[in-house]
Amino acid sequence: MSDAALRTPFPQRAGAALKDAFLQEALTIATTKFIDLRKEAFAGFPQGEALRDRARAIKEATLQHLHVHLERLADNVERLGGHVHWATTAEEAREMVLRICRDRGVRMAVKSKSMATEEIDLNEALEHAGVVPVETDLGEYIIQLAREKPSHIIAPAIHKTKGQVAELFSRELGGEFPADPEVLTAVARRALREKFLQADMGITGANFAVADTGTVVLVTNEGNGRMVTSLPRIHVALMGVEKVIPSMSDLVVFLAILARSATGQKLSSYTTLVRGPRRAGELEGPEEFHLILLDNGRSRQIASTLREALYCLRCGACLNVCPVYRQIGGHAYGYTYPGPIGILLTAMLKGNESVRDLAHASSLCGACKDVCPVRIDIPRMLVELREHLDREKIAPWTERVAFKTLGRLLRSPAAFRLSAAAARWLQKPFVREGRLRALPLVFGKWTRTRDLPPVAARTFRERWEELR
């Protein structure tokens, strides 16, 4: 989201999303479908729970020696004839891609879906440098045409109804297309076919990278990933450093749970394993292969609060079940990664200041933790993040004073009793039919839409005497 849009406070952005009828319709349908598919996939997969534990353990162990694995990966990619670049920041990563474009005279780049490229705003940088980026994942293609950002980690256009997509295609591609997903897919496929053939560069992310073998792994469903990695003469893969895994046997564990968590598939339609550029005698593949290892704030969290967020596989399951995400969608969060995991990733990439409000965009219901394939304890980390906001004095001072006061009050039974008595007296003018229906100040935030029970005429402790 642009800086200007971010100046609208989060509660207002969320409020606007609630009033967007199209968004509400699209979100309800899509998230419900994802939830059911995931449930079904794991119901018929009894070994799934043990594999989730195993996957988590692999992530834990890999992070212990992240650099060892990364260097092994880099060595192997280079042995295969690929180039490896280490980017500390988003800016460095962008510059690396642009340099390759300049050096090799790249005019057009086709892309398969990649959140890492979204994270570094690569498309804007390419456009600015005169390179045309073309998204080839259907969802990404839709939002690129609409000049928007993805609103879901695996379903970038989840916020759009098929009617909206038909309108968009008709306007942008010239034609009169019906709101029929099959027709629209064919339209996109036709438009994209040309681009695959014209492009000089293919840009992808990476779901995993296997250190032992130097293999970059892409998990996709539309076949576009294969075209992107095999047709253009240059392939650039950009991956967060946490995506490295030690061996091919580890990969098997992750593949068994990733698609099940994301879309409810046993495996995605395509699992593409890329090992360096085309070798002598091979029929397809790029002449040049580049792997960019992106840190961008990740490694400093290895020994910190947000460590577990580095286990994330980007499956999007936590978004689908999150009651907040399901109401407001991804754009309202305002950053690249939405949903519960997105709050943690935003804190990691953009700093704690940026999640002052977002850290509270969760009822801590725990549904995210339940479905996470690597069991990231997102609610606990959100609470810890909130603790940092308090300690670093990022939380508003009014709030800090209010909670410190509450803390004192809860430590003193006398003060607690007295507050209840005071509230009982103060509420008098507001009680209607035994309920509080309109209260002033902060309490109005509750009573605008819900009744509040009044403080009881006699609290439990006042009735205890007669119960003895």
Binding site: L364, D370, R411
Partner: protein
């Protein structure tokens, strides 16, 4: 005859101030089941609101006084899953810097149970005589369900009441939108989540919506009366004690 089970009631802040009738129903119910109930009067709140908002130092100080207050309790019974979760899951960690207190917290965690769990697990009772007639539906509160892994005990107890017809609530395991301070930090989102929940509740045709958490009951009850619904939000204890009015 074996000695009576003794239990201390942790009424919780919301229970004490807003829902004393739940506490009263609980005491009468437990006594009917042969439990000796006491009420440590120095108690206030478990500190969960402080903890959830990130004020962990303050929450730890509340936890410290609560564990001391309940140190000698044989069992501690709580009418709210979230508060029971706080004591069982978070107290030991909050007090880890003081080995003596930490040990007391660990012990308290083992002795503390949410009401339905206490009845089924400790008392070994699954069927309770009560006077309730009609259709009810049950909402799983998040902390009881996902935090403490409990979904069976409340349903078992409800089904055990002769006049009760338990109808499953569509999306029973989904959050009601309360979330403590979340409900006033993002009131519109909270209400939007609630509306979905209440539409499901009304689709069941139940007369009562039962839950085991004061927070959820405040949220869902507040939403039900605001929309003029005939469905009543009640605590499990009220159904089991036969003390649902109207």
């Amino acid at each position: 005859m074996a000695a009576a089970v003794r239990a201390s009631l942790m009424i919780t802040c919301l229970g004490d101030v807003f829902f004393p009738e739940v506490g009263v129903a609980m005491v009468r119910l437990l006594r009917r089941l042969g439990v000796e109930v006491d009420f440590p009067e120095g108690q206030t709140c478990c500190g969960l609101p402080l903890f959830n908002s990130g004020y962990h130092h303050d929450a730890a100080r509340v936890a410290a006084r609560t564990v001391k207050l309940f140190e000698r309790a044989e069992h501690v019974v709580v009418p709210s899953g979230s508060c029971a979760w706080m004591v069982k899951i978070e107290y030991p960690g909050l007090l880890k810097h003081d080995p003596a207190l930490h040990a007391v917290a660990e012990s308290l965690a083992r002795r503390t149970r949410e009401l339905s769990q206490f009845i089924v697990e400790v008392l070994g009772i699954a069927k309770i005589e009560s006077s309730f007639e009609g259709k009810v539906t049950y909402h799983d509160s998040c902390h009881l369900l996902r935090g403490l892994g409990e979904s069976a005990s409340p349903r078992t107890l409800l089904r055990g009441v002769a006049g009760v017809e338990l109808v499953e609530l569509p999306g029973a395991d989904e959050c009601c939108g309360f979330g403590g301070s979340f409900s006033v930090r993002l009131p519109e989102v909270s209400t939007s989540i609630l509306d979905k929940k209440l539409a499901n509740v009304e689709s069941t045709g139940a007369r009562c919506l039962v839950a085991c958490d004061a927070g959820c009951l405040m949220q869902m009850g507040g939403g039900l009366t605001r929309r003029g619904s005939t469905v009543k939000a009640v605590h499990l204890a009220q159904v089991l004690a036969g003390e649902v009015e109207g």
